[in-house]
Subunit: 476 residues, 2 copies
């Protein structure tokens, strides 16, 4: 059983990986020119230094006080314009070389530029207007309806809202679970997003980590054993619809079956589905198991800036109306019940989502999902053809492979790494051309990292992705 090995790896923290030098954005307005106090990192042999518990100012664009004659000279405006122009160039460059995070960077919201002049705030509950009139609830509710339909919950049976990010969705789902079962135990596989464990700590809940299979899916044998050890307490379960690192989809039906087998009736468990990325992709994958409120689940969350694409992080949270009253309170000041985690809420995000959903529709998403899966297979196949260990879960567009030796390469392509593995998340903006560019560069560099007769050897990643996917010296 290789879970022991997986366990060890996931605990490893590699400070060098976090700190290898990257092509940092230009730091405009240095200390001298502007009387400011921006600080550069001290470099030691090309490595940035990390000091935990300190606020290392690696890059800082200091705010400086305007000079008395700025309005006359225009110096300040010129300075700001130059900073922004350089920053924009960096953003274009960094957007171009990006493969590691599940963000769709391909969007055009030009039509929405006209709204940036307004302070749009959907404070409180999306379904109850507050007195503040500059809101976008009409867009928000349209988006929520769309997602409720996607996950098969009737319009008058759901409650939800547009969150600031996937983490807020998890915080909300788990909080609802806890309010429904105040003495419930939180179960989550060890490959769950770290926000799940953060929630447990914030909410002072007992939390049990469940083992995972090599694929990254929850190990229901271990889950069963842990449930049986704690039969006296209700269960709150975080089910991953696409884990962060391996893109693994927990088997929701098996989780439910396991609960039933252990004697947990539906009034003694609450399931939150963390669908950060795949919650929106799965419904469009043929023969994929369904995330559906027709099954006994309590809530689903998904990120909006991931598959849809959005300038700022956001997410969608849908839960059952019957659960939400446990959370809500009347707050007259806002003229709004508040069952959200936050109070003031970004009113632009719902409009971005509404715009894209309207333009693409179910059919558009389906096409994009198919393209992503196709391109992910292409990437995996080419990696394997080049003799590089790689894995691609069914239903997933996350290709996991041997971690590149050179951290500069990792930073350049903005790969997310964990232990010996790295991943590329194939999103709609990741074309075959981009993958080819990446693959060519990787294979070229790799030939210098692992020269014939040299000491360096590609790492064994059998413990991470299974020996059938590993082509290290031992397993090939």
């Amino acid at each position: 059983m290789s879970n022991g090995a997986v366990e060890t790896l996931s605990e490893v923290f590699d400070p060098v990986a976090a700190l290898a030098p990257e092509p940092v954005p230009p730091v405009a307005g240095g200390g001298e020119a502007n009387g400011a106090h921006s600080e550069e990192t001290i470099s030691k042999g090309g490595k940035r230094e990390i000091v935990l518990g300190r606020n290392v100012h690696t890059t800082c664009l200091a705010v400086t006080e305007p000079e008395a004659n700025d309005e006359f000279t225009g110096d300040k405006e010129a300075y700001i314009a130059s900073v922004l122009a350089r920053y924009r160039k960096t953003l274009m460059e960094r957007t171009k070389y990006h493969l590691g995070y599940p963000y769709n960077l391909d969007f055009d919201y030009g039509a929405l530029g006209q709204l940036q002049h307004f302070s749009i705030n959907n404070l409180g509950d999306p379904f109850i207007e507050s007195n503040y009139g500059v809101h976008s609830r009409q867009f928000e509710v349209g988006v929520l309806d769309w997602f409720a339909r996607l996950w098969e919950l009737e319009k008058n049976e759901y409650w939800g809202y547009i969150t600031n990010c996937g983490t807020e969705g998890n915080l909300h789902g788990i909080l609802v679970g806890r309010e429904v079962f105040p003495d419930g135990i939180l179960y989550a596989s060890r490959d769950s997003h770290y926000s799940v464990f953060k929630a447990a700590r914030m909410y002072r809940m007992d939390c049990i980590k469940v083992a995972t299979l090599i694929s990254g899916e929850i190990d229901c044998t271990d889950f069963k054993a842990k449930l049986l050890d704690n039969k006296d307490k209700p269960a709150i379960i975080n089910v991953n619809i696409g884990t962060t690192v391996k893109g693994a989809v927990d088997d929701l039906d098996l989780v439910i079956k396991t609960l039933e087998e252990c004697g947990f009736t539906q009034d003694r468990f609450y399931i939150h589905c963390d669908g950060a990325l795949f919650g929106l992709m799965m419904p469009f994958v043929k023969r994929a198991p369904k995330v559906s409120f027709k099954k006994p689940i309590g809530s689903v969350s998904v990120s909006g800036h991931k598959f849809v694409g959005c300038p700022m992080p956001c997410g969608v949270q849908i839960t059952r109306m019957e659960h939400i009253n446990a959370l809500s309170r009347n707050v007259e000041y806002l003229a709004s019940r508040d069952a959200t985690i936050m109070g003031s809420r970004n009113g632009h995000a719902p409009i971005f989502l509404w715009y894209t959903l309207n333009r693409k529709g179910y059919k558009g998403f389906q096409k994009e999902v198919q393209k992503c899966l196709r391109n992910a297979h292409y990437l995996k196949d080419r990696l394997r053809d080049a003799g590089i260990s790689a894995m691609l879960n069914e239903l997933s567009s996350t290709v996991v492979f041997e971690r590149p030796l050179d951290e500069e390469f990792v930073r350049r392509w903005q790969l997310a790494c964990k232990g010996n593995i790295a991943h590329v998340v194939v999103m709609p903006n990741v074309s075959i051309e981009k993958l080819d560019m990446f693959l060519d560069e990787l294979t070229e560099k790799r030939s210098t990292w692992y020269q014939e007769g040299g000491e360096a050897q590609p790492p064994c990643v059998a413990a991470d992705i299974g020996s059938e996917n590993c082509v290290c010296a031992l397993h090939k």
Copy 2:
């Protein structure tokens, strides 16, 4: 002692106030035309109906599936463009008639429009770069430095981040307090923002509500009594730098003195300052008591969309470096410690703040604060001259007055109400002209509400704002 009366009022929930009809934004794309299912509220005698625990679709712009020939006909694009154009018009109208919420709606971020094409995400800690390159940490750290300087904490002694809103700041500050004192009791005045009590519930903390004076400030006599009742447990205190309803500033020095008098040494209390609005204004008010880390406080939060003005909600959270390690964990996936509440964070907000701070500087803010205070005095004086009960706390730009009888008027001017009182928050975008328009309309309407010889009488608000500020039939 009138606190009893205040207590009763603050518990009142007036569903009618929350639901009076307002000039709702136009609902484009009705059910018939688009095969969609948008719902209008059922009106009964002009009042909207509220059903708690239901998702009443008062306004909804349904998302519709594109037709096969949309690309050819351009119908969908035309539909979206028309919705946006109408929405923009509503936003302009609603922005024009707005007085009740502390949002500075006067900003011009045209220069930043070019950045809307990028998915900017400052995931995790602002001071530790993650592998994701499309971020704005350099701007964020510049803004944080500015605020740390404002509140007198050395650059190498603070930690902080830019939050999604004031609530996130409170959630963070109180969580830090709880991690420092796991068995601490949370004390907060009853006029504290509701997010403080939400935090207590989320975090499973004991929470004691402290009475307030008529001004809205914390009543330190009551605070003392409650501290003495609980001497065995450390104290976590939420201090309001400007309460939501009355704009009252708790006396920080007296709070600290009270703690000392009750035998609480500095290693047994944690103070979080909720500076939502005034945290940024107070430093610029002459002779105002200082919010400063030279005093034994643990954290300060302030909203960014309030006094500064920003298209979307955001905030700034500053705490002491020594406290933050209690919260932080290594998370290799992000190559980032994460001591924030959220994971993914909006990277645009720091740029908006950076832009405004740079352009206005301390001097610019000082000028604006002075203008707000001047205009607030003007409003209060004119209300009193017109025979309307009104109160204005020293150091505040929040004018509290008799709640207008007509809810349509309340909605039109987007006033925040509580019981018998309403308020106007005088922000930089609230000019004398706007106030005059408001005052003229109010006095004109009021003469029809309270006709001589009629039955209706202006409400007595002595219990809310003191008999010296009340000019009802009894007190004038």
